[in-house]
């Protein structure tokens, strides 16, 4: 199996796109210090998984899995697998809930820290952390 063969690359196009999107999303989550950008990265990461599932359900030559209105089933028609699509509906709902909760948390963080940059927040937290972790005979432990 030659992984550089055009056939291999084109034949697995959906997986390549999934991997590229997934890695883009993960990279943004890890590398960006801005909390909103982190949430955007997380969204891209989740979307890549949605696309992975949806493309997985595709049957070559298959049409949309809608039962004919007249109720007559024609066995010669191939249908795509609807189950992964339905699963992803649930995952999309979960993704929306996560995003909105993340954004709500960012609003509260901005109210308390007056910043949504991770480095500013870390500096603020480290200063507090060091003062409260002084040795027992010092003035440590005040909140």
């Amino acid at each position: 199996m030659n992984i550089f063969a055009t056939e291999f690359i084109l034949g697995h196009l959906n997986y390549w796109l999934f991997i590229i999107l997934m890695m883009t999303g993960l990279y943004i989550v890890i590398s960006k210090g801005n909390l909103v950008k982190k949430i955007v990265g997380l969204n891209i990461f989740q979307t890549s998984v949605f696309m992975f599932y949806i493309s997985m359900g595709k049957v070559s030559g298959g049409t949309a899995p809608i039962f004919p209105l007249d109720g007559v089933y024609d066995p010669s028609i191939a249908y795509s697998n609807p189950l992964p699509h339905v699963l992803i509906l649930t995952a999309i709902v979960v993704g929306i809930a996560t995003t909105s909760l993340g954004l709500a948390l960012i609003i509260r963080i901005r109210e308390e820290y007056h910043s949504i940059e991770e480095e500013h927040i870390t500096i603020l937290e480290d200063t507090v952390f060091q003062t409260e972790n002084l040795p027992l005979d010092g003035k440590g432990g005040s909140i």
């Binding site: 993960l26 997380l42 998984v49 992964p84 996560t98 820290y113 972790n133 027992l136 440590g140 432990g141």
Partner: protein, 509 residues
């Protein structure tokens, strides 16, 4: 005719127990929000949790002999429909989760009203029940995708519950945010793994998955799927290098939330891991991929030592206990890695014993926070004299954490050492004892601060209220009770280990 109908109704109710115990907290949560009255929120939450606990006891008594209850949701038969399946392994976890939540709720009342403003307290109880729903759902379901859905229900409510600590310390917000990022990555990894398994098998029912996977352990798709599931769940379990969300989340969350999470959330995640390793995949698959040598042993040992060592140098009791939790997860992982019935029993018993031990300890912390204003060691100096009941119970928890004979913690560590010796891994047994000595150091430090130092402030500290002392002491007594009365835990763990080890053959009947 009439008697027959009544009889029929009673029959159906018992048949519906597996779904009822998930549904009752699930329906009560929005009910609390709609009723909207603060004084009714707590009783409703307690009734729901207590009902679930009674159901969990009923289920455990039914399956402890080795039986299996299968419930088809909506009457759709598996593998197409979603199946709920209760065997000894998950009934035991259900018993722990509902038991802890039923004891944490009375405790939470005083703690929550001192740590949170009045307007959020009603919503707190609703979220607590949603979190409970998620954990119970994850434990009961036999459908792999359903695990993800319930996992996210519990995770999303957990993030909000942790953020409620922001009224005491604003760092709860960043702790919740970081957990949200890592938890979502973990859950998404889990879904990717399920996607790979679905590609290879075309099914999501666990028993069906096990059946169809058994022939294709060489497949790269299946192996990639296993790796994604392991890492995804590992984030939720807080396996050593994936634990970074845990210390801050536990430290800054409200005391009642920390108690509940420490005793249940990671335990349920470990259960899912066990279920996937032993029921969906078979132990042979683990041996084939050498996942044990590369992942389980080194990271379990690292957790036991590195996390215990970090715990020694903490100055905040809550943070110290959080690190100790990471170390304890190492013991459970080690039990799994030994791949024997004794090892698995040790892991399951430790899961239960550590749940009640940590619940007792974190309840003690919550009482100190309420009365002395903080959980730093400087706040706790000399409290052994002013809060004798709280301190005594906390110390009992600490002793059980070390694993002193006569406490619950001893039983599980003893079993773990036995399991290691059974396989001839005596260096492992020495390492288990050595890491327990690290626990002696940090627990002794706590005792020293509570009893042997003089308070720095002149503030007169009162004993904790009875509503907190009672659950705390129940937990402390449980720590001792389960150290002597071993029939219940050993019996349940043995049945659970056998249910898990019988793998797919046990699931297919």
């Amino acid at each position: 005719m009439a008697t027959q109908t009544v009889h029929h109704a009673a029959m159906t109710l018992t048949e519906h127990l597996p779904i009822l115990q998930v549904l009752i907290p699930f329906i009560t949560a929005p009910l609390i929000v709609f009723v909207g009255r603060r004084e009714l929120a707590w009783p409703l939450a307690f009734i729901a949790s207590f009902t679930s606990f009674v159901i969990a006891c009923l289920l455990l008594s039914k399956v402890i002999g080795g039986g299996v209850i299968s419930y088809k949701i909506g009457g759709w038969a598996p593998p197409l429909g979603i199946e709920y399946r209760v065997d000894a392994a998950n009934a035991f976890v259900l018993f722990l989760v509902t038991g802890i939540s039923t004891l944490v709720l009375p405790y939470a009342r005083e703690s929550v009203s001192s740590e949170m403003p009045e307007r959020t307290q009603t919503l707190f109880y609703a979220l607590f029940l949603l979190c409970l729903t998620g954990l119970l759902g994850v434990t009961t379901t036999a459908d792999a995708f359903n695990v993800f859905v319930f996992l996210e229900i519990s995770s999303l409510s957990t993030y909000v519950l942790i953020a409620q600590g922001s009224y005491r310390d604003k760092r709860a917000l960043t702790a919740a945010f970081n957990y949200l990022i890592m938890g979502t990555i973990g859950a998404t990894f889990f879904v990717i793994g399920l996607g790979f398994l679905y590609m290879a098998t075309g099914t999501l029912n666990m028993a069906d998955l096990a059946d169809r996977l058994s022939g294709q352990y060489d497949s790269r798709t299946v192996r990639a799927g296993f790796a994604f599931i392991l890492v995804g769940m590992g984030l939720k379990v807080a396996i050593f290098p994936l634990h970074l969300w845990l210390p801050n989340a536990y430290t800054y969350a409200p005391s009642a939330v920390t108690t509940f999470l420490a005793a249940t959330a990671t335990k349920v995640a470990i259960y899912v891991l066990l279920r996937f390793i032993f029921s969906v995949f078979q132990p042979e698959f683990l041996l084939e991929t050498s996942a044990l040598e590369i992942i389980f042993y080194p990271f379990a040992l690292l957790a036991m030592f590195a996390a215990s060592f970090t715990a020694i140098f903490q100055r905040d009791l809550k943070r110290m206990l959080a690190y100790s939790s990471i170390a304890q997860i190492g013991y459970m992982l080690l039990g799994v890695a030994l791949l024997s019935e004794t090892g698995l029993m040790a892991a399951i018993i430790h899961l239960f014993n550590h749940g009640i031990t940590k619940a007792a300890l974190f309840m003690g912390v919550g009482a100190y926070v309420l009365r002395s204003g903080g959980s730093f060691y400087i706040h706790l100096q000399g409290l052994g004299k002013t809060m004798p009941w709280t301190s005594a119970a906390t110390v009992i928890g600490g002793i059980s954490l070390i694993g002193v004979p006569g406490t619950a913690g001893f039983l599980s560590k003893w079993l773990l050492v036995q399991a290691a010796l059974e396989q001839g891994y005596w260096p492992l047994a020495i390492l288990i004892v050595a890491s327990s000595l690290l626990a002696v150091i940090y627990v002794w430090r706590l005792i020293e601060i509570l009893y042997l130092s003089t308070p720095t402030s002149e503030k007169v500290v009162q004993e904790a209220p009875l509503s907190m002392l009672l659950p705390l002491w129940l937990m402390a007594i449980a720590c001792i009770y389960f150290g002597f009365e071993t029939d219940i835990t050993m019996g349940a763990a043995k049945a659970a280990a056998q249910a898990l080890l019988s793998g797919s053959s046990g699931m297919m009947n």
